[in-house]
Point group: C2
Chain length 358, copies 2
Amino acid sequence: MVNIEKPSLIINEEIARRNIERMAGKARKYQMAFRPHFKTHHSADVGNWYRDYGVSTITASSVEMAQYFAQNGWSDITIAFPYNPHQWSEINELAAKTRLGILLESDEALRHAGKHISNKISYYIKIDVGYQRTGIASNDIEKITSLMQPPHSTFDFNGFIIHAGHTYGCRSADAVKSLHNDILEQYRMMKSHLGEDIFISHGDTPTCSVCDDFENIDEIRCGNFVYYDLMQKQIGSCSLEDIAVVVAVPVVATHYERNEILIYGGAVHFSKDSLDANGSKTFGRVVRFSDSGWEITEGLYLKKMSQEHGTIGGPEHEIRKLHFGDVIGVLPVHSCLTADLLSSQFTLDGKAIRKMLR
Amino acid sequence: MVNIEKPSLIINEEIARRNIERMAGKARKYQMAFRPHFKTHHSADVGNWYRDYGVSTITASSVEMAQYFAQNGWSDITIAFPYNPHQWSEINELAAKTRLGILLESDEALRHAGKHISNKISYYIKIDVGYQRTGIASNDIEKITSLMQPPHSTFDFNGFIIHAGHTYGCRSADAVKSLHNDILEQYRMMKSHLGEDIFISHGDTPTCSVCDDFENIDEIRCGNFVYYDLMQKQIGSCSLEDIAVVVAVPVVATHYERNEILIYGGAVHFSKDSLDANGSKTFGRVVRFSDSGWEITEGLYLKKMSQEHGTIGGPEHEIRKLHFGDVIGVLPVHSCLTADLLSSQFTLDGKAIRKMLR
């Protein structure tokens, strides 16, 4: 493996490509367009891997991210975040250069965008199917219908965007499927009220990974699946073997007397999403690097973090195998946030990977 | 205020300077050296403000941060993080250009540094006074003594570094003082065993803010005090009026039916430290910008976050005052992590503030 000086994201390209290929194949099988969300990797280099599996349309979560990927050769981008009126000028500029989609959910937003954006642009209406983060409730047909009329001829109404983020509360594939069935019922209802030809773009890695019924779904926009992580494993979206990234960190101190070691790697590298595993809060699971990649250790986990420090705990016989100066890996709880934070990124075979700077 | 397009850190320079002046004055009053930790602001511009209060020595939490501040004119830097053997070459280079201090806590680390670092350098022994993150227990005199002998003549043994991070568990100034008294007792014990002339460098914003007894402390290295935050307010280190930063965020959707609004501002901007306030998890408190700065609202708080989205909740009459396109402020729970994440930073009067890129 490449020489590690500081906390670095190590990407198993083979696993990541397998994850992309599998999801692209699933989209094809069910005749859905595939518009993967690039907010997981934030990387021009990793983005290029998708082209090998036929991807030419992508999703971004901010105007800045759309600008970054536009600069890196992507020309069909949906910004899957509610229209921010303070960025109309940047959005207008992007729309001149790319086939751009934006997301709206209110009359104020539609009016503002209509007034300020002069270049050709598509918009989607954001629908809430139960996550209650944002969007118009799927049964509020009156409000939905009121937004389906574009303000002028350079505006195209494209369809509906849904992110089923409430699947992140599931703890089994069956729970995800049951939630998904409820969502499919809402899509049927939408079609019956809004017309058979409406376009439905569906998000979230759990349902796209787990489900096999995509009735009425025209496009999927999942993103996390490229790397997966411990949270997706807990939800039931993937196995540990599908996780394509670890954070390589140096061991800087040992505290065998309390079964702990200290790593250079903290909240500024991992962010702070955690899981409860067997009653203990965990920020990651420890792996050991091997010739072929990494192997998961038994019981070693990232138990505490401060700004730059991380504390690894676990059983005595495993902790004592770790020494000052060792480089170990940590499977992240939430790969999107972790990949965003780490500017130092490499593939397992040592290729440096560029990412969007923060 | 400056026009806000995206989540941006807004710094009230007057409050930040008052916080610096107060702490610099306290250090002078108790005849302690002042080596503020710059990991809170990560900013060359904010760093320069300290010079007006006589500061010429600083603390960094990583080699990269030390490099950044060395490039920005600082020539006396302590890296208050255990020596990382994988960065010996960068450390050696820095030591050629600056008066550099590093931190060691094991024989392996001392031997490694002694073998690899050829430029003149100082080292401190990291002592644990109860936080149990890292360091040698203050009563392990044998182990401490074994590290006090420099490996060769370009190595200076400088003294002891302590970070009383367990004060972050306190929920009142009295609790901080009580913990501090226990730490002072450990310093007395160390002096009695290790010699009256040892140098003790003491960290953490809570004790430095709250306490008035600094017996045996030769230097303070607190950092968070420049901005403070809701966590420090909860600990008892500051009042709400001492908090010098808010995150300015645009309102992008309203959900009055459930007393919520959606902001552009999520985990990639705030990080995910939270507090429990009246039984609810909170990631920040909402302020309204005014001519003179900002005013704290009653009961509005950041209740949920995903990657780029934040949900503000609160009482109906306050929520209904917020509209699509408004720019509001959020007092962060942990200003160090938030300031690290936001590359867009301004003072209240609109000066752009440079920070270290991630």
